[in-house]
Symmetry: C2
Subunit: 204 residues, 2 copies
DNA sequence: TCTCCTTGAACGAACGATCGTTCATCGTAT
DNA sequence: ATACGATGAACGATCGTTCGTTCAAGGAGA
């Protein structure tokens, strides 16, 4: 028989809150100094807990990064949901580009994703996590593009899947450029939109 | 007054060769384990020299990475040269896309550039080096695009500089995808070309 | 109500390994 | 004898992780 009901529920909630606090601290550290330049002690200090206690909540430094990556990738869900909403494809596409670009205009998101990606090169579990979530986004966008083709709103010259990947890589490329080159993403958005419309045959 | 001529010349050559050997060893280490996971001892061991001797050739670990980045970025020079050669813009563009994509199809080049870029986020000298060399490439490509517009070979809907950046980011985005997703770059090239032609108004 | 006992979150000293860097020393050619 | 490239021991710092300990809170029995 499991232990009493009400108390554990409260406990779990407090525990989850503590985990979140640690993760937020870790994110701050990783942003400021990078994953490998951040020590476990730094995370614990920033979270205001002891070194040992951190290991009561996470199995290690790598685990912390994995959890962060999971949270980060979960933020893609709203975009996917909006992409899948019925309606005129072109309008939905425009909205997606604008909102995704806005999301990526926060340097934290870009830097964090660079940090995660570069770690994923040599850590298979991170790579799998990354690819899985990205595939969901690509699929949703590809479906939207297909709808746009069927309705005659746009003209693709290669298959939707590949086009979707290219569109995403374009937006992300601009975001990287925005961070590295210290250019505000807002200034890059108009040119990006025009380029995309041409690539997707919107002017046909 | 500088020291005697003939002997030092030979010496300098041998010295440069040794430097190169160390850099090559460092590249191998960085590729295999990443910059921060590579110790100075690993580099020295791989180069077959002693730990202390490494510091006779480089002022430190960071210096080694800077030199590697310099060498890596110098490999862009041939591309810039070919972009600047006179001739039909469209043909030159096609050739550039194919050759640059082929260059980036070597995973070493991609991984190394990720390693350098992610370090550049927090090291200003690396960032400056990176931006400077990339600007030269962007400028050359932008000029080529301008020529293409003037000759009526292609139709840009935003300014050449921005278009050039977008084109480069597209190619590089595909290359990243090729590495992370374990897809051979050759398979991505046709779709990329088609997408680019549409974006640059080649079919007009 | 008071006491005893269990529980587990929190702690931080300690571990062995490794980090980047320095430098006294040695062998070798001039 | 002199100059100098090469060496690796040594340094202090820091790494990620472990683990014995403390102690406040909650439940059971009086």
């Amino acid at each position: 028989m499991p232990p009493a009901d009400p108390a554990p529920a409260k406990r779990d909630k407090a525990l989850a809150a503590r985990r979140r606090k640690i993760l937020e601290a870790a994110v701050m550290c990783f942003l400021e100094n990078g994953y490998h330049q951040t020590g476990v002690r730094d995370i614990a200090a920033k979270a205001g807990i002891s070194l040992g206690n951190l290991y009561n909540h996470f199995s290690g430094k790598h685990d912390v990064l994995v959890e962060i990556a999971t949270l980060e990738l979960e933020e893609l869900a709203p975009f996917i949901r909006r992409l899948r909403r019925p309606g005129p494809a072109l309008k939905a596409l425009d909205r997606f580009v604008a909102s995704y670009a806005k999301y990526l205009s926060a340097p934290e998101n870009i830097i964090l994703s660079i940090e995660i990606t570069s770690e994923a090169i040599r850590k298979d579990d991170l790579a799998a996590l990354f690819m899985e979530n990205r595939k969901a986004l690509v699929d949703a966008l590809a479906d939207l593009l297909s709808r746009g083709v069927q309705s005659g709103e746009l003209v693709l010259r290669s298959d939707p899947q590949e086009s979707a990947e290219l569109v995403l890589e374009l937006i992300e490329g601009r975001a990287y450029h925005s961070v590295l080159g210290q250019v505000p993403m807002l200034r890059l958005l108009p040119g990006l939109k025009v380029f995309l419309r041409a690539a997707l045959g919107v002017f046909r």
